[in-house]
Symmetry: C2
Subunit: 346 residues, 2 copies
């Protein structure tokens, strides 16, 4: 599917390094796509922070992600970083943006087609800009996370590097939570499940909402039954997966994709997730975990977790959520765009 | 100086309406330039919020300024508003931006020249983007507020509509402060001058720094000697000028321009300002007020304020800080740009 004469630009966010050291789902996916494309022989330029690690050609204007560099203004960094890719548009046959809505505002000033993977709609207030540019090219990361009226070419599920998360044949005893500490992610519900099931819970992730952490998480921490260990990198995740009986993901709003569910499944860890949004696409109910409607159902699901075949969890990730599957998905989308653009010109 | 075949776009900020109802210095200046250009026969399109008031052609994508509309995300509003002007670049011979550094990031994607009036550098962290685009066309609003290395074509002082601020032949008894409630503006120093001189102080302006207001302003308010009356519109400013003996402007960092100094002087109100930044250019020491180095000097200056001829204050504004003078200044700059662009093409 590679088109040898085509030059691709991947525009990654610069909140964090690509790939991120710890948190940074969008940068993770941008990295996985980039590396997957290079592995398949594509000519790829990655626009990311200068400390990024890639086998593609790296183009950087900011030394570090703005979340990792207090000397930098995030707004300045964004404008400098995004415009840099568009100023070089003529060098590319396609710009593939992973950087939210901002790059859309440059798309009508260049001739190169731009594909936007929408990794999530952070607020209804960002919809006006998507509506203005709805005729662009879009990919959703799950069927559930779509806005009406946008020119979607496909859903391409995020893919992970399975070699990073080896299968744990035997699970541990703990419940684990992995994600941003934010009400959306239902950390408080995971704590309730821990309490009701009498199982230990280990919580990992960046604190995105300080008040929520202080009021709904911290009071339950006791270094024993409920522990918070901060953000974790890949090694830290694997340590967690090794001791995990189940990953709890009781999000309170529809998840957009849920990369961590896939990572857990890859390691053989079953997932108990809320029956909302993309969780329904990522988790196969009864096969790679359970979809639940509330805390009571989650407790019951945890009790039945031995019914889940850990090997089957990994197999499903291999088939649907690997880098290769994702890159093949994008290759089909790129092909569609090249065809459409060729027709426009002829 | 008008060039009848040239079409101008004025890009105003959209924090507030153009002109603003109350606070909003950049929108005020953008409005004054627009109206001044139209009055002199130019073909002008103003990019501003839809509720803006102008005799130019108005192009708007946002109903209101984002500071006046809680349903709007300011970042989305900015990207939509700025890109709109650049997407229409081919319709203009010049885009004149008053909207900070963000529009610079679009300038290399269009052929129309862009002039940026830098109304202020809000932080050293924004300098990298000015440095990248340093070869653009820039105007400073005072000689003092210049960054090194930028391609400045001129300093053009901001101009006001003098008809809005009629001369008060006789002053009142009060000290007045007009500006954002922020440490930069030295409200606390004005309060000290009030205390030491035994004169009443009336403070007007938006509270930009809540903690500063709470800690350094509010404790001194007594409805008698020191009063805070909130933000004021033009009518409110005129009421203040009518009762003012002197305007105190004891800014703690170099002022960029200081529109309020000019407004006060237009009304015949002398100004005691810190001997810093653009105040040295706007206030003629001993003629339209006094430049001082500290609170003690400010108290002495207030005592000598009867030496200032109120009519001379207004005369100086007419000569140097009127809309007409400003527009003539910009016409010269536009002319320079048209010549430079013609040379580039030939």
């Amino acid at each position: 599917m590679r088109e040898p004469n085509k030059r691709l630009a991947i525009l990654s966010p610069i909140a964090w390094r690509t790939p991120p050291r710890q948190y940074g789902a969008w940068e993770t996916v941008a990295s996985n796509i980039t590396e997957g494309l290079v592995a398949r022989g594509w000519d790829v330029t990655l626009f990311a922070s200068a400390d990024s690690v890639t086998s593609a050609r790296l183009h950087a204007v900011m030394d570090k992600g703005y979340e990792e560099d207090s000397t930098v203004d995030s707004k300045v960094a964004e404008y400098l970083h995004i415009s840099e890719a568009f100023e070089r548009a003529a060098q590319f046959d396609l710009i593939h943006s992973h950087y939210d809505f901002m790059p859309l505002s440059y798309t009508r000033l260049i001739k190169t087609p731009v594909l936007t993977t929408i990794h999530g709609f952070s607020s209804p207030k960002i919809m006006p800009i998507y509506q203005k540019y709805r005729d662009g090219y879009f990919v959703s990361v799950s069927d559930s996370d779509r806005a009406t009226g946008l020119n979607y070419l496909a859903t391409v599920y995020n893919g992970i590097d399975l070699t990073l998360y080896p299968l744990r044949e035997r699970g541990g005893d703990d419940l684990i939570f992995l994600g941003r500490i934010h009400p959306d992610k239902g950390v408080h519900l995971a704590i309730e499940v821990s309490r009701l099931s009498g199982m230990r819970l280990i919580i990992a992730g960046i604190i995105q909402n300080e008040a929520y952490f202080r009021e709904q998480v911290q009071p339950h921490l006791d270094h024993q039954n409920v522990r918070y260990i901060g953000p974790v990198d890949v090694a830290g995740k694997n340590e967690l997966f090794a001791r995990a009986r189940v990953l709890l993901h009781l999000n309170t709003i529809p998840e957009r994709f849920g990369l961590v569910l896939v990572e857990a499944n890859a390691a053989g860890v079953p997932v108990v997730a809320m029956n909302l949004g993309s969780c329904r696409e990522v988790i196969k109910d009864g096969q790679t975990g359970f979809l639940v409607g509330n805390v009571a159902e989650a407790v019951l699901a945890v009790g039945r977790i031995s019914e889940i075949d850990r090997g089957a969890c990994r197999t499903r990730v291999k088939r649907h959520f690997s880098i290769e599957t994702m890159v093949e998905g994008y290759e089909r989308v790129y092909s569609t765009i090249f065809d459409l653009e060729a027709k426009k010109r002829s």
